[in-house]
């Protein structure tokens, strides 16, 4: 029993650190409606600065703490708010989520540019006498643990008082309800929102520095874990209640220590479940915590006052000829590629085509289905592992195993979809994120999944009858055919019943169901299809690489996939193809020009911030801009033509006509 109590006491300091980030999450969610997935990354910023000043430059504790936490923390928050989230205040929740995902991807890499990639061992603590032990009856706490507890308790008490008893607290609560309405009452909602960001980023920085000594070294990955733990705690607090959030964080901290102390160390429960306890807790809370599901997403009731974002251009109905030309051009491109590409480039192009298959799964679920799934990497992993295991253990022909992997991934996706579909918007995204992380930690290390002790699983290239696809050029043609089929499938679904039903559900769920559309069924279909396509891509990738490596399919990489596809355009096939090309080529160019590989994440992460303004994606946006440009040029030509026949007439009527033509052309395009 006393052992149990000591686990409980050991767990409290962990819980306190989780609580700091969780409270930051709730605070920004309350004041700006943004569910900031980048808080873990912000904690990492402060931890890195503290390490650099304290350990590398040997500053004192106080100056290092002031710079890393008190200055850097709030400054990062303020910058993010002023440069990014201020403009998203009335954007749909999905746009905010995408922006924070982009930052989650970009910020750690930005830090690494300056901090370096050398491992930073033995992170320093803020306790002057780090390991001094304080005894409370039979139980002991280290000084740094005690500090974590005291700081967190102070923060919670201070915040509660702020919200309850001060004018600024009242304003913050009002801004959450409706920024516009509050502004009509003469309050600057902008700055109240910024204050929320400053405060919560301060907490994130604090948590980052407090947490650092608990790990052997400072790594961004550990801070993603911190984020998920905080997410779980925030979910426990139903995303709004600071007291409950605090309690949830403490429970989670204790549960982790109890699990560490009591579970047998050699079982999968201990090695897999314990570190992923926060993911499991988040997942279960999202599914079963009453009240959370029905929480309406923080959204401005006056948002409707703003003009809605420009509607998507719908592709003009393409005639048979256009379609035929596109197909012929694609085939010609593949054949020319086969003839001219050298070994190096052919390798890259195959890789890009396989990524395009995986990315099309995101086009299906996010672009067509309107749902953000963050577990696509896990679905791809199911495809890859199935392919590898069946070949390795049962000697099944590779083509069949890829097919089996596709089907199995589809089934896994559909089964996952069943319980989580009741959740909308960001909750769905969080649930899939939790699932992906659980998959990474619990399933992927198993012998019969990612290989585990078995070692990396090898996968041979397929043979189709007499044709051996062992050589890259042959595999190139094979991949091109598969990609072509997946593109065709995506297009057929988009223009078919499923695509139209999904569009309808997205437009108005109430109206769609009142016509007889079963929303659960159609969304499960979309999830299953998307997962199957991801699984197919995963199987292909394993075959191409010759092995199925769990590290190729970790969830954090999957986050980046979503960011890059959404940025390039998740509504169109072309967007997915461009994203795949970028995913493969950009690292190549970066290394050619001696840039750090991290720039890839920074570039696409920051580019995703454009999503809020251009939800159609960069590819479609460029296309439209070009069309608009051409029309403007034509209009100007018309203007000049109108002037030309009457050079003698000084100005007046003809010029005016020309100007009208020009402005009409531009206005006409703008409205569409």
């Amino acid at each position: 029993m006393s052992e149990f109590v000591s686990y409980v006491i050991e767990g409290i300091p962990y819980g306190c650190v989780f609580a700091l980030v969780a409270i930051g999450l709730v605070l920004t969610y309350k004041t700006s409606g943004v569910f900031n997935l980048a808080f873990g990354a912000q904690a990492f910023v402060s931890a890195a600065i503290y390490y650099d000043t304290r350990s590398r430059n040997e500053w004192g504790i106080l100056p290092a703490f002031l710079v890393a936490v008190v200055v850097a923390g709030p400054v990062v928050g303020l910058v993010l708010d002023r440069l990014v989230f201020r403009f998203l205040r009335t954007a749909p929740p999905i746009a905010k989520l995408v922006a924070s995902l982009g930052l989650l991807v970009a910020i750690p890499e930005l830090v690494r540019l300056w901090f370096g990639t050398n491992p930073a061992y033995n992170p320093p603590s803020i306790a002057p006498d780090h390991d001094r032990i304080y005894t409370f009856g039979d139980y002991e706490l280290y000084q740094y643990e005690l500090i974590s507890v005291v700081v967190t308790v102070l923060v919670v008490l201070g915040l509660t008082a702020l919200f309850r008893y001060t004018a600024i607290g009242l304003r913050m609560r009002a801004v959450v309800e409706s920024p516009r309405m509050t502004e009509l009452n003469g309050i600057n909602a902008d700055w109240v929102g910024s204050l929320g960001w400053i405060l919560s980023s301060l907490f994130a920085g604090l948590a980052g520095v407090l947490l650092a000594p608990l790990f052997a070294q400072i790594r961004a990955e550990d801070y993603t874990l911190l984020l998920v733990a905080a997410l779980a705690a925030a979910a426990f607090g139903k995303l709004t209640n600071i007291g409950l959030t605090f309690l949830g964080a403490i429970i989670l901290g204790i549960a982790q220590q109890v699990a560490a102390g009591t579970l047998p160390t050699d079982s999968i429960l201990a090695t897999g479940l314990r570190p992923s306890l926060p993911f499991v807790m988040l997942f279960l809370l999202l599914l079963f915590w009453p009240g959370l599901r029905n929480q309406r997403e923080a959204q401005d009731p006056l948002a409707g006052v703003d003009p809605p974002p420009r509607a998507l251009d719908v592709a003009p109905s393409r005639g048979r000829t256009t379609r035929l030309v596109t197909v012929v051009a694609a085939v010609v491109a593949v054949v020319v590629g086969y003839a001219v590409l050298d070994a190096f480039w052919m390798h890259l192009v195959i890789q890009a085509m396989i990524m395009a298959v995986i990315f099309l799964s995101i086009t299906v679920i996010t672009g067509m289905g309107g749902m953000i799934s963050l577990s696509q990497a896990s679905f791809a992993a199911v495809g890859a592992f199935t392919t590898a295991q069946l070949v390795e253990r049962f000697d099944v022909p590779v083509l069949l195993t890829i097919l089996a992997g596709t089907v199995l991934a589809g089934i896994v996706g559909a089964i996952l979809a069943l319980p989580i579909l009741r959740l909308g918007g960001i909750y769905l995204a969080l649930a899939t994120l939790a699932f992906g992380l659980m998959f990474d930690n619990i399933v992927a290390p198993l012998d019969w999944a990612g290989g585990g002790n078995y070692g990396a699983l090898t996968v041979p290239r397929p043979e189709i009858g007499p044709i051996d696809l062992g050589e890259d050029p042959d595999f190139y043609l094979f991949t091109a055919v598969v990609l072509g089929l997946v593109v065709l499938a995506a297009l057929l679904v988009r223009s078919g019943t499923v695509g139209r039903f999904l569009d309808a559900l997205r437009g108005s769920e109430a109206a769609a169901t009142s016509l007889g559309i079963n929303p659960a069924r159609i969304r499960v279909t979309a999830f299953g299809l998307s997962a199957a396509i991801a699984g197919l891509g995963g199987g292909l990738l394993a075959t191409f690489n010759g092995s199925a490596q769990p590290s190729d399919f970790i969830s954090t990489l999957g986050l980046f996939w979503v960011v890059i596809v959404v940025t390039m355009g998740d509504r169109t096939v072309l967007g997915a193809l461009a994203a795949a090309a970028g995913f493969v080529l950009v690292p190549q160019w970066l290394s050619d020009w001696d840039f750090a590989p991290g720039w890839q994440y920074i570039l696409f992460g920051l580019a995703s911030l454009t999503f809020a303004r251009h939800p159609e994606g960069i590819v479609e946006w460029t296309k439209r801009s070009l069309v608009r440009g051409v029309e403007t040029v034509e209009a100007l030509r018309a203007l000049r033509a109108a002037r030309a026949p009457a050079p003698a007439t000084a100005t007046g009527a003809p010029a005016a006509t020309g100007a009208d033509v020009a402005s009409d052309a531009m206005a006409g395009k703008g409205e569409r």
Binding site: A311, V314, T497, V498, D503, A512, G516, T525
Partner: protein, 252 residues
């Protein structure tokens, strides 16, 4: 047996009783009015009847079958259609697309397998049905237009046409004339009468336009603060002193 038979519907929101034991019925080929001041609970009642809300008590029977527990889409497939007070159209879709979606949804046809085996696109018979319905409500030329570009009045007709594509036997119309001008209202009135006569539809109509209610309905129910305060043949109800006091005032 009535087409729609509602008994004792109760709906509470956090202590407020929005509907207090509402009972009503609609016969085939009959247009029934549901009137009352704003906030009386008309739309709440509609949502309870079509399944968007679950009543705290009472029973809804359609064609003699208890449908109280059925989800929205199942009720729709039985033959219940509706339109919305605040229009619920699908942005980015053409008028024709709206109708095609409704057609397939009602028949429960199509799906992933059909899409992948090239059966997803609209078939000629489907297009023909959709065009016929468009013609019926007077939207012949608008099939290829996007709904964002349409006027409110035309938008309401699109909603009506979309509901009709589900081949309903019972239609809930929530203020179909709100936001329409005189001509458009007249057109809507004609369409409703025509539907009743030609298709034998039962219609439950929530409407503030007293003139329209007077013209098309045979009976009306008057709802005030969640309670039915009067019901009966339209002319009689409109003459009722209590109804005048609660809602009509000097309108009639």
């Amino acid at each position: 047996m009535s087409l729609l038979e509602v008994t004792g519907i109760v709906k509470r929101f956090a202590g407020i009783t929005a509907l207090n034991g509402i009972g009503l019925d609609v016969e085939p080929a009959e247009i029934v009015g549901l009137i009352g001041p704003n906030g009386a609970g008309k739309t709440t009642l509609f949502n309870c009847l079509c399944g968007l809300l679950h009543p705290d008590g009472g029973k809804v029977a359609f064609d003699g079958v208890d449908i109280t527990g059925l989800p929205v889409h199942r009720r729709a497939r039985l033959g219940i259609g509706r339109t919305f007070q605040r229009m619920e159209l699908f942005p980015g879709m053409t008028v024709l697309d709206h109708l095609l979606v409704a057609d397939r949804a009602r028949r429960g046809e199509g799906g992933l397998i059909a899409d992948l085996s090239l059966q997803g696109r609209a078939r000629p018979d489907e297009l023909e049905r959709a065009r016929a319905t468009l013609a019926q409500v007077g939207l012949e030329g608008d099939g290829d237009r996007y709904v964002e570009a349409m006027t409110l009045g035309r938008g309401r007709l699109v909603e009506l046409a979309r509901a009709l594509m589900t081949q309903p036997r019972l239609l809930f119309l929530d203020e179909p004339s709100s936001g329409l001008d005189r001509d458009e209202t007249a057109r809507m009135t004609d369409v409703l009468e025509q539907l009743r006569e030609e298709r034998g539809l039962g219609i439950l109509l929530v409407e503030h336009d007293v003139e329209m209610v007077d013209r098309v309905t045979s009976r009306v129910y008057v709802l005030d603060q969640g309670t039915l305060i009067a019901s009966g043949p339209t002319a009689e109800v409109f003459a009722d002193a209590r109804v005048r006091e609660a809602y009509l005032g000097d309108l009639v």
